[in-house]
C-alpha cells in the first residue's frame, strides 16, 4: 500500500524545474564567492595601504574566489 503511494507521488512533477535549480546553484555560488572576497578584499586593501607594490598580488588574491562562480556557470550550461 505504502509502496504504491510512494510510486504515485514519485511520478509527480519535481518541486523545482532543472533550470530553476541550476539558477539557484549559480546564485548560491556567487553568494559564496562574494562572502569569500569580502574578507580577502579587506585584507588586501590593508596590505596595499601599507605597501603599494602589493597591488597586483592583492588583486589576484581578491578575485580568486570568482572561480567558484565560473564553475557554477559551467554547470549552468551543462543542464
Amino acid at each position: 500500500m505504502l509502496e504504491v503511494f510512494l510510486q504515485e507521488t514519485g511520478t509527480a512533477a519535481p518541486a523545482i524545474e532543472p533550470n530553476a535549480a541550476a539558477a539557484l546553484a549559480l546564485g548560491l555560488a556567487a553568494l559564496g564567492a562574494g562572502y569569500a572576497e569580502r574578507g580577502i578584499g579587506a585584507a588586501a586593501m590593508g596590505a596595499i595601504a601599507e605597501d603599494d607594490s602589493l597591488f597586483v598580488n592583492g588583486l589576484i588574491m581578491t578575485v580568486l574566489p570568482e572561480t567558484l562562480v565560473i564553475l557554477a556557470v559551467v554547470g549552468f550550461f551543462l543542464i
Partner: protein, 348 residues
Amino acid sequence: MSSAGGSNPEYVTARVRARKSALYGDEEYRKLVRMGPSEIARFMEESDYEVEINALGARHSGVDLIEYALNRNLARQFDDLLEWAGGRLYDLIARYLRKFDAWNVKTVIRGLYSDADREDVEDDLIRAGEFDDAVVDSLLSAPNIEEVVDRLSGTIFGADLDAAYEDYEDTNVLVPLENAVDRTYYGHLLDELVVDEATAQYRAFLEAEIDFRNARNALRLAQSGADIDPAAYYIDGGTLFTASGLASLSQNRDELVAAIRESQYGDDLSAALDELENAESLIRFERALDVALLEYTNGLGHVFPLSITPIASYILAKEREVDNIRAIARGREAGLAEDQIQQELVIL
C-alpha cells in the same frame, strides 16, 4: 560574523602584520647600540620615524628629540589602530590602549602638582589612548587638579577620581589620585570581556600582564623593605595572587619567588627566577618578565590569525621597540658600555 558596525579583523591584521615586519630586528639593534644620539636620530629618520623626527627636529635635539619622536610615533601608530578597527575589535584594542589615557591623566595631574609649564607637560604626553585631542587639550588647559577631575567626570576615570580627590585634599599627596587612575585602568581591562576561543588567548595575555604587574610590585616592596600595605597596591583580576596572599608573600622574598616558580609562568621564568635568587638585582628579573610576556604574545599572533591576538602581539612588540631605543639612547648618553646596554634590551 561581520556586518555593518561589526568588526573588521582582516583589514586591521593585514596592516598590523606589515607594520610589525617593519619593526627593528636584531641587526638594527646591533647597529643602534654603537651609535651616538644624533646618529640614532638620523637612523630613525631613515626608517618609520621620519615624520616625527622631521616635525620635532627644529625644536629639540639629542636624546630629547629621540624620546619625543618615539612617543609621538607610538601615539600615531596606536591611534591608527583605533581608527581602523571597528565594533568589537575596537573595544578589545581600546581596553589595552587606555593605559596611555591613564598615563596622560597622571602626567597632567603631576604637572599641575609640580607647577610645570604646559609645554613641558604636553611634550611628555602620549596621545595614543582613547581620548581624542580635544579631551587631552582640555585637560592640559585645566587650571588646577580639581578642574582636571571635574573634566574627567564623563569618562571611565570619573567615578574613582572623584572619590580619590577627597583623600587628596586631606593628605595633599598624589598617591590616592594615581592609584585611582591605575585601578580604573586595570579594572576595565577584564571588565565584561566576552570570551570565545580567540579572546580567551587575549584574556590570558591581559591576566599575565596583571600577574606580572602584581609580582613586580610585590618584589619591589619586598626589596625596599618599606612599611607599605601591599594590599593597597594589589590589582584585581590576575590568576596568580590573591590580595591577602600577596600581602604575606611580599614580606618574604624567598617565598614569593617559590610561589612564582610553582605557578603557570614557572617554566617561562625559571632562568629569571634563578638569577633573582642568586643576585640582588631586580632589574634583570623585570627584564625577564618583559621578555616572557613578549615571547608569549609573539606566539599568540599565529594561533588565531583573524582576531585580536596578532594586534596585541604588534602592540607589545612596538612598545618594546620604543623602550629599547629609549634605553639605547639614554644609555649612550650616560656613557654605558655596549654590552651593558645590550643587557637592558628586551629582544627575542
